[in-house]
């Protein structure tokens, strides 16, 4: 009796997965593997080798990689500082940190557009104090900047979580056995925080790789990422077949990232957001 009831409770979820995950996936694969007449083809997927598509993929990979590395370099020290604060202060710090995440992603990026524009807020201030204006909007720098700004918390939190979980006695034990601060960090803290780092990398790299909003708003239409190409195939060109084919290629990268995460992140630190 009880089991049956529990089964019924899972029905909405099952419906949800089928309607919004499984069916769209099947459709992506269907469109990606057929041409306009409905015949089976690999042409859509192989079109990634076209210079315009391949270049978009490379730029996306490059920019998201740079963003991920910078995020990691910024996040690790920050997460260490946060995890060493006493509990009263660190709740507040985390809150301050997570607060922007509660605002709409689009709004935040639009705000940065206004700030970074050639005649925007930042340049107005710079001119007012007789400093040279920045030409950053519509450059790859602006895109990287937007990615870092938007995805930084997704790097900080998993690393912060693993660092908090490290037993302070392990650090004391390392010191006790003769390791100085640097050795303790390299031999104990860093290896034990690898799951968090991997989670963080995945959670920054995947959305950065697939984004088209950030590159649209901060990169103008000058720099096309693979996300923008796919978006344009679906909207401007109405070529769902090509869009789906390229999506499948992109999906491959996502799946690889997720497999790497799953191998390293057995305790699910990354999902503790």
């Amino acid at each position: 009796m009880k089991n049956k009831f529990v089964k019924w409770l899972s029905l909405p979820y099952a419906f949800w997965s089928i309607a919004f995950i499984i069916i769209p996936l099947i459709m992506v694969f269907y469109f990606g593997l057929t041409d306009k007449s409905g015949k089976f083809t690999f042409a859509n997927i192989l079109s990634i080798s076209l210079p315009v598509h391949f270049k978009a993929l490379l730029i996306a990979l490059l920019l998201s990689l740079i963003s991920t590395i910078i995020c990691l370099l910024l996040s690790y020290p920050l997460a260490m500082i946060l995890s060493n604060l006493n509990s009263k202060n660190n709740k507040l710090m985390i809150l301050i940190f997570v607060l922007p995440m509660w605002m709409n992603f689009l709004l935040r990026t639009l705000a940065w557009q206004t700030l970074l524009e050639n005649e925007g807020v930042i340049n107005t201030i710079l001119r007012a104090v007789q400093l040279p204006a920045l030409k950053i909007i519509n450059t790859p720098y602006a895109i990287v900047f937007g990615m870092i700004y938007n995805f930084l918390p997704f790097m900080v939190l998993p690393i912060y979580n693993v660092l908090c979980k490290i037993d302070k006695n392990l650090l004391n034990a390392a010191r006790d056995l003769g390791a100085n601060e640097v050795q303790t960090f390299l031999k104990v803290t860093l290896p034990l925080s690898v799951p968090g780092i991997i989670s963080g990398i995945t959670m920054v790299f995947v959305p950065a790789l697939t984004t088209f909003v950030i590159s649209d708003l901060l990169g103008g239409s000058k720099i096309l990422l693979i996300g923008n190409v796919i978006e344009q195939e679906f909207t401007l060109n109405s070529n769902w077949h090509l869009g789906s084919g390229l999506s499948i290629v992109l999906m491959l990268f996502i799946v690889i990232s997720m497999i790497i995460t799953a191998i390293f992140d057995k305790d699910g630190e990354g999902s503790a957001l």
Binding site: D176, L177, K187
Partner: protein, 357 residues
């Protein structure tokens, strides 16, 4: 047991205005098994952490082998610690865990391999080199933690309630194991515990602590048989602690009845605390006892019976192999030698320490 290896001078430490250690003085000799014993919050772990270098004292000095090491960071001290929850490195196998300290000291590979073998043999875990810490039981993990510490050949091994997480049987086995280890290694052990049985079994010297003060330092026999104050008597084993009056040398008035005792030098008509261990009370026929009372409870404990006897308005705790049923009138007799007289707490600090307890 010869010269002083570690000396603590006037060590004080407080956290958030709460005084944990107050002007503590203590020395520890070479090759001694010293136990810091006391209830939680008595300052015993803080003392150990100050010796280990994980805490800095607010005042005072730590002298190690004639040198002031108060400011020396933990990683430069010639002592090693066995932590309460083992603190094994979960990302390393057993051999890597044991080799940790030696690799940092850049020892040769053959030296390290020999040491790992030797240490695993010493803790009876030969062949565990490639296991991961998670796959070991609590007792085994604790042995590895000890092995990891002793391969560094410390002069002193600090043990912070190392058996606290183990079950009773294992804990008893490990006690003998630790005594054996200490004798084989010939180094000083400083052991922290709240378990009085552990302390009595293993120690050469017990330091009883409470509320940041040392209450008594002595051999297990001294601590048990001649507690210096009511706190020590109460904390170590069961005891009857009775507010009494010392009439004169070798005569004490307990609950209105005069008892012969062997203590002298307390003065005349002085208020004192009397400690009588429950196993030192002899239950006899009512007319044969110094005082008489009624048995109010009876519990079988295996080795002996535990009885409460209500006599002269005090509930006497008695351990005896003879059984007296509840409600029976009995006489209480105590050998003068077994009546332990203690001064009332002298200072207000001491008093406060005991009352809060």
């Amino acid at each position: 047991m010869s010269n002083k290896l570690i000396t603590l001078e006037n060590i004080s430490k407080s956290y958030d205005n709460h005084l944990v250690l107050d002007e503590m003085n203590l020395y520890i000799r070479e090759n001694e098994f010293v136990t810091l014993l006391g209830p939680s919050g008595c300052g015993k772990t803080t003392t150990l952490r100050i010796i280990g270098g994980f805490e800095n004292p607010d005042t005072g000095r730590v002298i190690f082998d004639g040198k002031d090491i108060t400011k020396l960071p933990a990683y430069k001290r010639q002592l090693n610690t066995v932590f309460q929850k083992y603190a094994l490195f979960t990302h390393m196998n057993i051999a890597e865990n044991i080799a940790f300290g030696l690799k940092i000291k850049n020892k040769s590979k053959s030296y390290i391999d020999d040491k790992i073998k030797y240490a695993l043999k010493l803790v009876n875990l030969e062949g565990y080199e490639n296991r991961m810490p998670d796959s070991l039981s609590g007792g085994q993990q604790q042995r590895i933690a000890i092995a990891r510490a002793i391969v560094n050949e410390p002069k002193v091994l600090l043990l912070d309630e190392p058996l606290g997480a183990l079950d009773l049987k294992l804990r008893q086995d490990m006690q003998y194991e630790l005594i054996r280890l200490k004798n084989e290694l010939g180094i000083t052990f400083i052991y922290v515990t709240h378990d009085q049985e552990e302390a009595l079994t293993m120690s050469d010297t017990i330091v009883v602590m409470n509320q940041g003060y040392i209450q008594q330092i002595g051999t297990p026999e001294m601590i048990y048989n001649e507690p210096e104050n009511a706190f020590v008597a109460d904390f170590i084993g069961d005891s009857n602690i009775i507010d009494s009056i010392m009439i004169k040398d070798e005569l004490v008035e307990i609950l209105g009845t005069k008892f012969a005792c062997v203590d002298t030098g307390f003065g005349e008509n002085v208020h004192v605390d009397v400690v009588i261990r429950p196993e030192d009370i002899e239950l006899v026929a009512p007319e044969e006892g110094t005082i008489s009372g009624v048995v109010t409870s009876l519990i079988f404990k295996g080795v002996h019976y535990e009885m409460d006897v209500m006599a002269n308005g005090f509930e006497w705790l008695v351990h005896s192999t003879k059984m007296f049923p509840v409600g029976e009138k009995v006489g209480i007799k105590v050998d003068p030698f077994n009546i332990q007289i203690m001064n009332k707490p002298a200072s207000e600090d001491e008093e406060a320490a005991q009352i809060e307890e």
